[in-house]
Symmetry: C2
Subunit: 332 residues, 2 copies
Amino acid sequence: MEASEIDLPTVRDVRDAAQRIAPYVVRTPTIRAYRLERRLGGPRLWLKCENLQRIGAFKARGAVHAVLRLVERRRPRALVTYSSGNHAQAVAYAGTVTGLPVIVAMPEDAPAIKVAGVRALGARVVFAGTTSEHRRVAAERIAAEEDATIVQPFDDPDIIAGQATATLELDQDVHEAVGRSPDVLYVPVGGGGLVAGAALAAADGTRIHTVEPATCDAMARSLEAGERVAVEPGPTLADGLKPVKVGVRNFEIVRRRGATPVRVDDDDIGAALVALLRDEHLLVEPSAAAALAAAFRAEPAPDVQDVAVVLSGGNVAPELVGDLLGRYGGEP
Amino acid sequence: MEASEIDLPTVRDVRDAAQRIAPYVVRTPTIRAYRLERRLGGPRLWLKCENLQRIGAFKARGAVHAVLRLVERRRPRALVTYSSGNHAQAVAYAGTVTGLPVIVAMPEDAPAIKVAGVRALGARVVFAGTTSEHRRVAAERIAAEEDATIVQPFDDPDIIAGQATATLELDQDVHEAVGRSPDVLYVPVGGGGLVAGAALAAADGTRIHTVEPATCDAMARSLEAGERVAVEPGPTLADGLKPVKVGVRNFEIVRRRGATPVRVDDDDIGAALVALLRDEHLLVEPSAAAALAAAFRAEPAPDVQDVAVVLSGGNVAPELVGDLLGRYGGEP
């Protein structure tokens, strides 16, 4: 598919999405991180708390938006999806909002807490192999057999417009607080739904940094190459940031915006997660901590007054949090 | 001092306090706890997030208010206080707001993290013995020698009116969200500043529960006896809830309101802290978890639609959080 052929959402679509989903999602707070911002040596630090969103992650925005749009066009009989992470819970939640049954293809080795999260929202779980390809095939079979409609995780205009509402609110909140938009915005990148949304919704003067683990840097490599590049994801704490390739639409929107890629490693991520917990009392998943870590690592710049981070979500196993507290909790 | 002689703040004082402190404190969010409220079997659960307040606890409200009032009357030369906990940081913060030097008498065995927190806000630390009596005597000596003014931790009308602003905002937020006030409100009790404020600021129809560790139940025993009773504080996770006696004013305001006492134990507190962290992604100190634990333990009542909890603060040592995650993290 060529960039010239694809349907890209616009900032107007983002405003429409915000109106459409408002009754079903949380207008999460934007927190000024007074303690952590001392590390930046000057600028204010703003955190958009999508860890306090329905289902604990921004994915509720895109899924609810996409499903509401489906229903407006032609009410589906059922919904099916194949993410094993937050998108699965997000579609399950969208099912409760619209009264549609939801089926989720999950890996046979999915953590019990994730399976329980999806089931607690009333969705049916179908186990299908261990790879994302297994799950995609299973989802397509279910879609055909049960006349169910697939809800894509990130490469979809309605999903992107929904995720963009987080950045729209962040910009509004910072503007209300200090009369200006953030100079810099850090956004974690998995498939690229959140950051493509940020590229649509951020103010013109806001510089966007895409943040990825150094071991799974599909967006960084793609931006550097000027075209989408596939990577073999290596090990990382940030299990939400491991797609092989970013979405077509997502890449195109981010490329046009001129975003700058940043890579972080597991030590950065773990230390940022613990610092945020200890100093600001917010728990985030490693993907969100990656974005914060990138903000910590930036060189001070005299023209930067307001730095913002989208804390994408907070669903993380208690055992991992305990491990990270043990490893990084003693640091000042 | 007889109840008839003491100066008690009024709801009008609370509104004045809210205006006075607004530029210096955070209007913390009130979160609806969608996941945790399933445990209540019906009602909505609202959490007032004072763990996201300046210095990480509601104490910033009372201290800033009391110090601003002092400055309005006659600008003090310096401030002195003798709490080893959040109140010390709160007065240190009030010093930064007003440009006044602050001296804090702390125990010789104070945790390094608490000493560092006070010093990071520019206050001078004076070590004085190990008991609260040692610290009080030291503070009074410093006040006399250095012409400094003591800022009391809880038994003071300006402190109470300041702490009350948290409940005022909570009531406003719940009202805005669902058009009614909470039916029930759970508030942790140390010296009683927060709960006395709640008793002033909560809507008439809101039933207030005072929450304490069973081992340090000064307010419960006092309410049951109809007069202030001193206790010998036993061991508890909730180190913020250990005064020997609640304040004169605090008790009188709570008694007149007709609040109901609740006692919780360390297992309740630890499990509630971990559940809040895992399900809602908020870190609180054990005192705040105690109030949430009390809400979990309440019998379902058909007339209760909205339950609210004041999460008093979030300053807790990372090692303790790690321990509690290990002990309670596996529970569903």
